[in-house]
Symmetry: C2
Subunit: 385 residues, 2 copies
């Protein structure tokens, strides 16, 4: 089988197949909500499917904290790992690339190609590190809107995202209500709980207290790997559920006997799994981006100083689906449901669904026929707006 045959086969089989990322570079300064600016914007993104003549079939997918622009397909024929939502996005899949033009971009502030703390500051020739301006979810969405302009997309058929991507989705429908017709927010909330802030700040402290963090001023090959790894281990626990971990690992042991000198070495399977998660994260993620992203999430608050969610949501015109997951204790179902309750009080078109899955916060990333049906039906038959 030659390359083109292979590509043809995967496309027929419902896969987007080979994909390439692209970079959108805007050489005008990008001004953050804080008022600070950077001399140019760079957003890395991927697209799947084709924009139709009327330009009204575009869907924007917003990634979660550790995600990126590569949400579907593969980069090469031997690439064993496909995009992070490959089972959801493709021809004939719930987010159907034979019908929709799907865009996914790495967030501003990120570390997978978009400009962020680990990028070179053209003014200094050195990494921004903490000279990168303070970041908000609003900044993430404003950068995405510039990318939509660049791609010729006026109004989006839908914005879709889970977790941090869900917060971006909520930001889209309140900041650019005229540019979104439908939205799906998964495993998210209109603000963080005190517990979520507590976990994030503990993760930040793990990074900041690593001597290699060096007040944020480190080079690409000498970052605070230990601190970032610990932060990721802890965060990863919060992405799963007690029951899910029990089902997957229980108390299974990695090694039965070990020398006394290794009393604190890996003993249980769950330890091995988490340490691997922590260590592999270090190879693909920048510690300062972790600080900026988590801080942006902690500060995101659609309830506002008056503790009134309806104020922020009053401008919404899009039709929405919000999905909570029963075992998600980081973004509990309650916080998802409250969004729709506020929308319904405002007379908006919105639906809340709660799925019973045992995978905790990460449930939205797991293959699920129920979730597929929900998303497919919602996108195919959007309620009249």
């Amino acid at each position: 089988m030659n390359d083109s045959e292979w590509v043809s086969e995967v496309e027929q089989s419902g896969e987007v197949g080979l994909v390439e990322f692209q970079d959108f570079v805007d050489t005008k300064p990008f001004v953050f909500e804080s008022g600070a600016s950077i001399p140019e914007l760079r957003i890395r993104y991927e697209t799947y499917g084709h924009l139709n003549a009327s330009g009204d079939n575009a869907i924007l997918i917003c990634h979660a904290l550790s995600g990126d622009h590569h949400c579907a397909g593969v980069y090469g024929l031997n690439d064993r790992k496909s995009g992070w939502w490959n089972h959801m996005v493709g021809p004939g899949k719930p987010i159907d690339t034979s019908r929709y033009y799907v865009v996914c971009s790495n967030c501003i502030g990120g570390c997978q190609g978009s400009v962020g703390p680990s990028s070179i500051n053209p003014k200094t020739g050195r990494r921004y590190n903490l000279e990168f301006p303070a970041l908000t979810v609003g900044d993430m969405v404003r950068a995405q809107a510039l990318l939509m302009d660049h791609l010729g997309i006026g109004t989006l058929h839908a914005v879709i995202g889970g977790s941090m991507g869900g917060m971006q989705t909520l930001e889209w429908i309140t900041r650019y209500p005229e540019r979104v017709r439908n939205y799906i927010a998964l495993a998210t909330g209109a603000r963080h709980t005190a517990q979520a802030i507590a976990f994030n700040d503990t993760g930040r402290q793990a990074i900041i207290s690593d001597p290699a963090w060096n007040d944020g001023d480190y080079s690409a090959d000498a970052g605070p790997a230990q601190g970032l790894s610990v932060a990721r281990m802890m965060a990863h626990i919060t992405y799963l559920s007690d029951k899910g971990m029990q089902n997957k690992f229980g108390r299974a042991r990695r090694m039965v006997e070990k020398p006394a000198s290794e009393h604190f070495a890996v003993e249980f399977e769950v330890e091995s799994y988490l340490r691997y998660q922590g260590q592999s994260f270090v190879n693909r993620f920048d510690a300062n981006t972790y600080l900026y992203f988590t801080k942006a999430l902690d500060q995101f608050d659609l309830y506002g100083p008056d503790d009134n969610l309806e104020d922020a949501l009053s401008v919404v015109t899009a039709s929405g689906l919000v999905v909570g997951f029963t075992s998600d204790w980081l973004y509990p179902p309650r916080g998802n449901r409250e969004i729709v309750e506020a929308l319904l009080r405002l007379g908006k078109d919105a639906t809340y669904t709660e799925l019973a899955m045992d995978f905790g916060h990460d449930s939205f990333l797991i293959e699920s026929q129920d979730l597929y049906s929900l998303i497919r039906n919602f996108l195919d038959h959007p309620a009249p707006s």
Copy 2:
């Protein structure tokens, strides 16, 4: 008011008042379950009340991971902080020191006076650090049993403990069934869940990855403070509940405005609280003890390799009360209830009660009339055995 008047007053008011700790030193080697040994045992303890002539009114209280032997009273007239369970233990209190002789000891392996990794090894004149033998909950209880021998206590009226203290309580009734007539285990389990192991291992990694840990070989004034602080911050979150944190902190801010250079400084009250918890822990706790204690807890497993809790509990003769707390997600109610279910299947005398409190795992340490009544009634009217 002179000192003796003050002491008289606090005793009449239901306080144990001024207390002193004592050290039990056994100059024979203590052999751990691992087979390794240390040349002598030292256990620091406190007692309140008086042992009666028949020696049958003694109660042993077992402390939790970060606790110690000082569970009631004060060390001086100006001591503002009383023992960790002072509201529970005293004349006329639920654990009534006018009727019972109450003993509380710092666990072997600890760092509050009992021999542990931070103690001087008499053979080398240096701290044990990781030369301290691997520790189990069984070792903790065996050392306590030697202390009971020393105090002339054959059979205990009751053993009581929460969390790690609850695991010691379960170890007592299965290892020395003939020496315990009643027991109360609070917010505990017969083994850790995968999630609890995961949190503990992440805490251990925070310590181990701190360069100051130095493979466990550090001096008293140069330990892995940053790593221990992060471990404690994370653990402290697991001791509370989402709702409890929401009620106590919500999204209240510590400072409204701050300079951009302090983008990751304390912003929310919950961050300030947790960072304080982390930093103050460093001043009173040894990092290696943290490693040894958490490992002992992770390895504790009364279900055993055959996953059969009844096997271990079949020897129990004492009457028991096990209390779970609805908001405790670290030692969930389920794991507490399973202990009593197994005991009842075996025909043992045991009661399970679940208290609805919002304080998470730490609920057993919180003032609660319901908990007071439960403990008082159980101790006063033990079921016939």
